[in-house]
Amino acid sequence: MTTLLNVKDVSKQYGQDTLALSDVNFSVEEGEFVSIIGPSGAGKSTLLRCINRMINVSSGDITFDNESVVGLKKKELRRLRTNIGMIFQHYNLVERLSVIENVMHGRLGYKSTFAGILSLYKEEEKEHAVHLLKLLGLEDQIYKRCDQLSGGQKQRVGIARALTQNPKLLLCDEPIASLDPNASKKIMDYLQNISVSMGITVLVNLHQVDVALKYSDRIIGVSGGKIVYNDSPEQMTQEKIKTIYGSEADDLIAAAGDKNAV
């Protein structure tokens, strides 16, 4: 196994007094499915965005694919981002455009500004996009406008857009937080499939412990900007959930218990 991502001593300070991340260390192997869990405000979104430099770290270093991302200049940064797909809680699509147009946006990072603006996509790029949409069960929606889709369908468009990038890593920031249980399960199954069949490494922020336990190779627990758990799901105990979630833990355990009962 080779290490794809290495986060070393990373801290992030917002303004004067918000320390969102403090001395975070972890690494991710190629092909791994890793969940980051923790209460809201723990620093999960910040951590994810430091990896593709949507947010700049205050100190520390991040290596992706044997290259430090921290010092990258504009052009190299664009190249780095083409290798990292990102999926969002609110899908972040251009709602007025069609499904296929949104999916093709995943190719923009590879293009010159001129070719990108004029949508000069190659035939095989379009075929690949259609192929991905079929894999995600969206073949009947290809020319529909995104504002006519359900939440689960929108998230699948978001996944297709990320996959057209041919990424080595997928960053997912609470991908199921706005979806109902059925759609949530579907999206998580797709992500797991992608990880296994395409060999893409997946790093996913989650609020729900039970989902993390079910799908992950490894779980990273974040609390107050620090990593407090970094191990396989089998090692997770109620005590450890309490250290991650603090006072929120009881509700979460109760909710997980309810689901098991059903």
């Binding site: 949507m54 083409t82 990102m86 609110h90 699509l93 251009v94 590879y110 500004t113 990108g116």
Partner: protein, 245 residues
């Protein structure tokens, strides 16, 4: 409310406006209007000339609005907090917009009379400046409201700044922007009439001419054509809005 009454009473004393006399003169004004201010048969001979001037005014208003929209688009992209390049440009473009917007169209016309004299250009630029200020402000608001979400997504794919603007921000905001441009054209046709009186061009000039020659019948026909054209335009732009929004 009390304060409002006091201020308005104070203003009446200050300007020696007599409320009673003001209200009692309304019936006689209406009576005058009915007996003089209607199109007569001889007015309709002037109709082709009036329509010609009306067309000139409408075209000036449309040209000023659309060219202003192009400039406003650039400035608003620099001004909006979502798409700004840096803070200095953002503050500068907001400042320029505020300045141009807050000078009234009549004031612009008077200022520009010095440079261009009584010509179509004076009216055109007066409308252009006000539209530019207004539309920049409106577009900034539209861009801010479109939000950061798809901008963030495109940035994360490695897209460059011009791509992000043209592939995500503009497609999301065109309907609202077109709606504002249509609104601006409506406003400008009204303003163009007023500005025309000052600059001696277009339909405003026609009205002024007939009115001062005491040809109230023809002057009323001018007003009628303006009202009809504004109603038609409003209908058209409502239709366009329904289709695009």
């Amino acid at each position: 409310m009390l304060l409002f009454c006091a201020v308005s009473y104070g203003a009446m004393i200050f300007t020696q406006f007599n409320a009673v006399k003001g209200f009692t003169s309304i019936p006689s004004a209406i009576q005058w209007g009915i007996s003089n201010f209607y199109p007569a048969a001889h007015s309709f001979e002037k109709l082709p000339a009036i329509l010609n001037k009306l067309l000139e005014t409408i075209l000036t208003a449309i040209a000023a609005s659309t060219i202003a929209a192009v400039f406003a688009l650039f400035f608003s992209v620099f001004g909006s907090k979502i798409t700004k390049v840096n803070n200095i440009l953002s503050i500068m473009s907001r400042g320029v917009a505020t300045l141009f917007r807050n000078i009234d169209v009549a004031a612009w016309a008077l200022i520009l009379l010095f440079s261009f004299g009584q010509s179509v250009l004076t009216g055109y630029f007066a409308l252009f400046f006000v539209s530019f200020g207004f539309l920049t402000r409106a577009f900034i608001e539209v861009l801010d409201e479109v939000g950061e979400s798809s901008v963030e997504a495109l940035k994360a794919t490695g897209a460059s700044y011009p791509m992000i603007i043209l592939k995500s921000v503009i497609p999301s905001s065109t309907p609202q922007m077109i709606s504002w441009i249509l609104f601006m054209i409506e406003i400008n046709i009204r303003s163009a009439t007023l500005v025309g009186i000052l600059t001696g061009t277009g339909i405003g000039f026609s009205f002024d001419l007939y009115y001062k020659n005491l040809d109230y019948n023809t002057a009323s026909l001018v007003v009628l054509t303006i009202v009809v054209s504004i109603l038609i335009l409003e209908y058209l732009s409502n239709y366009v809005r329904r289709v695009i929004l």
